[in-house]
C-alpha cells in the first residue's frame, strides 16, 4: 500500500523533482545566483515550449471536435488520426508570403503581430500546473493576470488601427469596446472567491479549496458562470467572436495579416483560450487537486474539459450583435457580479470558514440569487413564441382568371 502511495507521490512530483535534480546538478559548478538565473531561464523556456507545443494538440483537438459536432470527420489525413495536421498548417503559414499593405503603419503593423503573444505567455507564469509546479507564485497572482491580460487589447487595437483597412479598424474598435466591458465582470466575479481565500496568490486559491474540501464552483456557482461567460468574451471566442466576425467584417483586426504574423495571432488566441480555462480551473474547479491521479493530470483534465466546452459553444451558438454584446455585459453580467460580491461578503462574515454550514450558506445564497434573477428576468425571457400563420387558401376572393 505504502509502495503504491510512494509511486503515486513520485509521479505526482516528477516534474518538481526533475527541476530539483537539475538545479542540484547546476549547483556543482555554478554559484547560487547563477543557478537561480539558469533555473528561471529554463522555466521560462519550458513554459514557452509548452505553450507552443500545446497549440499542436489544442488545434487538432478543436478541429476534431468541431468536425464531430458538424457530422464530419475533421482532419484525418496527415499523421495518425490527423494529429499532425497542425504541423502542416504551420508549415503552410510559415511559407506564405508576408504581405504588408502599402499604406499600413509599418512599425506598428509589425509590432502588433508580436505584441499579443507576449502577455499570453506571461499569464502562464503564475498558473499552478500541479502541486508545486508554478513558475512564480506571486502574492498578487490574480491581479497580475488581469493586468497582463489587458495588454492583449492594446495589441489587437494596434493591429486594427495600423492595417489601414476599414474592416480591421471596425474589428479593432469592437475589440476595445468588448474587452474593456467584459474585463469588469470577469474581475468582479472572481473577487468573491478572493474574499473567501483572503489572498490573490493562485496557489493559495487552490489550497483554500483543499481546506474547504470543496471546489469553489460549489460555493460560488454563479460567479463561475459569470467568470466563464466574461472570459469567453475576453478571448473573443464564439459566441462573442465579434472582433473577427468572419461573416460580417471578413476577419476583423487580422484581415491584412498573412503568413507568420497571422500565425502569431492564432497562437495568441489559442493560448489565451487555454489560459482562461486554466484560470477557471484554478479558481473554481479546485486546480490540481483530485484523487489518485497525479496533480498535473487533474489540472489538465479539468482545463481541457473547459476547453471542450468552449469548442462546443463555438460549434453551436450564433454570434451576438455588437449592441447586444454591450448590453449583456453592462446590464446583466456587471450587476450580477456586484450582487454576488456583496452577498458573498455578507455571508462570509456570518458563517465560519471551512465549515459545512458555511458551504450550505453559500449554496443557499446562490440559489436565492439565481431564483431572484429568474423572477426578474423571466417575463422578458419568456418571449412570445413566434409562429407562422398557415393560410389554407388565398385570403382574396376567387376571381375568374383570364
Amino acid at each position: 500500500m505504502e509502495a503504491i502511495q510512494g509511486i503515486l507521490e513520485f509521479i505526482d512530483q516528477i516534474f518538481v523533482k526533475l527541476s530539483f535534480w537539475f538545479s542540484a546538478q547546476l549547483a556543482n559548478f555554478l554559484p547560487d545566483w547563477g543557478v537561480t538565473f539558469i533555473m528561471m531561464f529554463a522555466t521560462v523556456l519550458v513554459l514557452i515550449v509548452f505553450g507552443l507545443a500545446s497549440i499542436i494538440w489544442i488545434n487538432v483537438f478543436e478541429r476534431k471536435i468541431i468536425g464531430r459536432i458538424q457530422d464530419r470527420y475533421g482532419p484525418n489525413r496527415f499523421g495518425p488520426w490527423g494529429l499532425l495536421q497542425c504541423v502542416a498548417d504551420m508549415i503552410k503559414l510559415l511559407t506564405k508570403e508576408d504581405v504588408t499593405p502599402t499604406k499600413a503603419d509599418r512599425l506598428i503593423f509589425n509590432l502588433a503581430a508580436v505584441a499579443p503573444v507576449i502577455p499570453t505567455f506571461m499569464i502562464l507564469a503564475v498558473l499552478p500546473f500541479g502541486r508545486g509546479m508554478v513558475a512564480a507564485d506571486l502574492s498578487i497572482g490574480y491581479l497580475y493576470i488581469v493586468a497582463v491580460g489587458c495588454l492583449g487589447t492594446i495589441a489587437i487595437f494596434m493591429a486594427g488601427w495600423s492595417s489601414r483597412n476599414k474592416y480591421a479598424l471596425l474589428g479593432g474598435m469592437r475589440t476595445v469596446a468588448q474587452m474593456i466591458s467584459y474585463e469588469i465582470p470577469m474581475v468582479l466575479s472572481v473577487v468573491g472567491v478572493l474574499l473567501l481565500v483572503g489572498s490573490l496568490s493562485m496557489v493559495s486559491i487552490v489550497e483554500a479549496q483543499g481546506q474547504w474540501r470543496l471546489p469553489f464552483v460549489v460555493l460560488q456557482p454563479l460567479a463561475f458562470v459569470l467568470y466563464f461567460t466574461a472570459a469567453v468574451a475576453e478571448v473573443n471566442r464564439s459566441p462573442f467572436d465579434l472582433p473577427e466576425g468572419e461573416s460580417e467584417i471578413v476577419a476583423g483586426y487580422h484581415t491584412e495579416y498573412s503568413g507568420i504574423k497571422f500565425a502569431m495571432f492564432l497562437l495568441a488566441e489559442y493560448i489565451n483560450a487555454f489560459s482562461i480555462c486554466a484560470i477557471a480551473t484554478t479558481v473554481f474547479l479546485g486546480g490540481w487537486q483530485g484523487p489518485i491521479l497525479p496533480s498535473w493530470a487533474w489540472f489538465f483534465i479539468k482545463t481541457y474539459f473547459l476547453y471542450f466546452v468552449l469548442i462546443w459553444m463555438r460549434g453551436t451558438l450564433p454570434r451576438l450583435r455588437v449592441d447586444q454584446l454591450m448590453n449583456f455585459s453592462w446590464k446583466t453580467l456587471v450587476p450580477l457580479a456586484l450582487a454576488n460580491l456583496m452577498l458573498t461578503a455578507l455571508v462570509a462574515k456570518l458563517v465560519p470558514q471551512y465549515s459545512h454550514v458555511g458551504a450550505i450558506a453559500f449554496l443557499v445564497m446562490n440559489v436565492v440569487v439565481i431564483v431572484c434573477i429568474a423572477l426578474v428576468k423571466y417575463p422578458r425571457w419568456r418571449r412570445d413564441r413566434r409562429e407562422v400563420v398557415l393560410v389554407p387558401r388565398t385570403a382574396t376572393p376567387q376571381v375568374d382568371s383570364s
Binding site: Q398, V399, D400, S401, S402
Partner: protein, 152 residues
C-alpha cells in the same frame, strides 16, 4: 374578369387615351407612351393592380416595345399586360417608378440592355453592364455570335 372586359372598361373610362386591344396568347392592352403613367396610376389605385411583376423591352424590327405585366396581390387572376411602343430612334418612355418602386431596377435593366430611356427615373444608370460600356447588348444589331465576343 376577362382581359376583354378589363379592356372595355378601361376604354370606356378613359376615352381620352387611345388604347389598343392586342389579341394573342396573353391578351394585352396597347397604350401610348404619354398616357402610360395616367393609366398606371389608375391601375394601381382603382383596380388594385398593386404589383408590377415584370418590365420587358423587346426589339422589333420597326419599333421598341416595353411590356408591363401587372398583377394584384389583393385579388386573384391573370395579368393585365400593358404594351407601349417607342420609336427606333432615341427611344424614350415615361418612368413608372413613382407608381411601382419595383420598376426602378427593371427599368434600369431595360435601359442598360435595350437602350430605352425612361424619363423621370431617379437613377437611370447601367445596372448589369459596367459604367462606360458602349452599346446595348440585347438589341438585335448588337454583335452576339461566337466570334464576336465582347471582352471588357
Amino acid at each position: 374578369m376577362t382581359a376583354k372586359e378589363t379592356f372595355d372598361r378601361l376604354a370606356a373610362k378613359f376615352p381620352q387615351f387611345p388604347l389598343g386591344y392586342l389579341e394573342g396568347k396573353d391578351t394585352a392592352i396597347l397604350v401610348k407612351g404619354e398616357n402610360l403613367v395616367g393609366l398606371a396610376q389608375h391601375m394601381r389605385d382603382d383596380e388594385e393592380y398593386d404589383y408590377c411583376s415584370s418590365i420587358t423591352g423587346v426589339d422589333y424590327p420597326d419599333r421598341f416595345e416595353v411590356v408591363y405585366h401587372l398583377y394584384s396581390t389583393k385579388k386573384e387572376g391573370g395579368p393585365v399586360i400593358l404594351k407601349v411602343h417607342a420609336e427606333r430612334e432615341n427611344p424614350m418612355l415615361p418612368s413608372v417608378v413613382s407608381i411601382w418602386p419595383t420598376a426602378n431596377w427593371q427599368e434600369r435593366e431595360v435601359w442598360d440592355l435595350m437602350g430605352i430611356r425612361f424619363s423621370g427615373h431617379p437613377n437611370l444608370t447601367r445596372i448589369l453592364m459596367w459604367e462606360g460600356f458602349e452599346g446595348h447588348p440585347l438589341r438585335k444589331d448588337f454583335p452576339g455570335s461566337e466570334d464576336e465576343y465582347i471582352f471588357g
